[in-house]
Amino acid sequence: MTTFFQSRRKVLFIDDDPRFLETMTRVMGVLSHDSWEIFGAETTSAAFALLHEQSIHLAVIDVQMPVTDGLQFLRLLNRRYPNLQKVVLTGFGASETYRATCLSSGAELFLEKPKTSAEQETLFTTLNELLKWQPEDGFRGVLRRVGLQDVIQMECLGRNSAILEVKAGRHQGRIYIKDGQIVHAAVGDRKGEEAFLYLLGLRRGEFVMKTFTEPPEQTIDTSYEMLLMEAARLQDEAIQDAGARTLALASGETEFFPWRPAGPPNDTRQAPFPGAEAPTSLETLAGPPAPPAAMERPAGTTWMRRTQAGGLPNRANAPAACTDRTRIEEILICTAQGEVLYGWHCPSSDLWVNFLEFVSQKARRLSQGFTLGSFDQLEASGADAHLIALVSTHQGILVRSRNEPEPANRETRPQPEVRDAGSGPGATA
């Protein structure tokens, strides 16, 4: 078995300040007694090149680099290299929100840039500890994989040149990237931006990256940022349309889940709460769907009576049985690739997909060093709000709910009874 001490660890520092890189290379080399192999990259492009060539174990990223937004770079890095440990360095007093955003975007740690030798030693100790916790392959994949847009963004950010060959059914097209700019795209009779947007709008397919050769013509001169933004906007519209169609079809069981991924059919029907029996359909869980034309939260839906309060072990002062009811506020189901399969009152689906990705990574990190078995779910409970995040190799499911007291006079229709988390296996009395 290869242990930490038997192989040199490869650490990549990414910072636009060459003096900082020189200092880190020298100081960390001394402190590690040469057990680290240290690399430095002044640009994201150089960083991607090094990551491609070397099996880097840890990347230490300055989030204040020019040209590239550090957070954006971190997210790309996380998607492309989910098993790479990432640490964010910041030279300023970042807000708690920014810190949390970095953590949820794949950073293991968020640290201030060292200014003194004592701080450098502290940084070394911290990073060295982190290197001992290398992710284990094979336990569970990170939720989201790299998509076509990610690759285009990475190639453009890296000022690279490449050809992306996209295949989806009978469609086959090419996107030419030259020195970080999209210069040509073609699919069938389409050319230019129309072809580019068409290719990025395909919901299925595969792509390969090929060595760059000059395109037959240059048909695109719009910046890649604008093109990707337009593609994302069109995709959002397509998802909204698809969501509306899904809701409209919800009454037909066989049509309800048109994009079900491969895998055990019961996967999509897991109980919304621990201990609760799986609903026969999502309609049971969420209440009848809103009509497509009225996506706003309809009053009086999704009420379920609970026998106990709280999604987690009851608080000491909670009554043994209370009449609070749980209102499901949001449901999201997505594939392992982050594609939203079903969203119910979920306006920020991207945000929650990121959160499921974060849970997936943390669940894996948490299990390192322990004998915990496979991960099932994370439950979070606040004052009156609850969240359950289930992550498997096939999909992620997120349910957000809130306890609300029962109104005295409200028209209700018959509601399904669900058993509370507190009565489920492993819960407290």
């Binding site: 708690e96 929100t97 810190r99 949390a100 955003t101 953590l103 949820s104 916790w133 621990p274 987690l312 072990p313 009851n314 608080r315 000491a316 945000l351 929650w352 959160f355 974060f358 849970v359 943390k362 669940a363 990190r365 948490l366 299990s367 390192q368 060093g369 322990f370 004998t371 915990l372 078995g373 496979s374 991960f375 099932d376 779910q377 994370l378 439950e379 979070a380 409970s381 606040g382 004052a383 709000a385 969240l387 957000r400 296996p425 492993g426 819960a427 407290t428 009395a429």
Partner: protein
């Protein structure tokens, strides 16, 4: 307050099904106790940091939580966070029959309400 919590942790009684426990303070320092070879001490501090990150990220997602439960096949990690930022983590068996759930809940509640003048 940290001393009070440290003393409390040192006096945590043996609980059936409790595999390990630990406290992480707001300043990032941590104390751990393990009762099972399945929960090595060296891994616990790392686990508490993951838990702290999760609380922080949830707050950033406008979903502030006071309790978390990570459910794995063989064990659950139950966590509670105090207002002062200190958090308690308890690794417990996932088998209900082997767990004194009431005692675990008592520990979590005690931790939540611990105060300097509580004795």
């Amino acid at each position: 307050m940290n001393d009070r919590i440290k003393n409390w942790l040192a006096q945590v009684p043996t609980v059936r099904g409790l595999l390990a426990c630990g406290v992480r303070f707001a300043d990032g320092t941590a104390l751990s106790q393990s009762y099972s070879c399945d929960c090595p001490m060296v891994a616990l501090e790392h686990a508490w940091r993951c838990v702290a990150d999760t609380f922080e990220v949830l707050a950033a997602y406008q979903q502030p939580a006071t309790r978390l439960r990570w459910r794995y096949e063989l064990a659950h990690l139950q966590c509670v966070r105090r207002n002062d930022g200190a958090l308690l983590g308890l690794f417990v068996t996932s088998r209900p029959a082997d767990l004194d759930a009431a005692a675990v809940e008592r520990l979590m509640t005690e931790f939540e309400v611990l105060s300097d003048d509580a004795g």
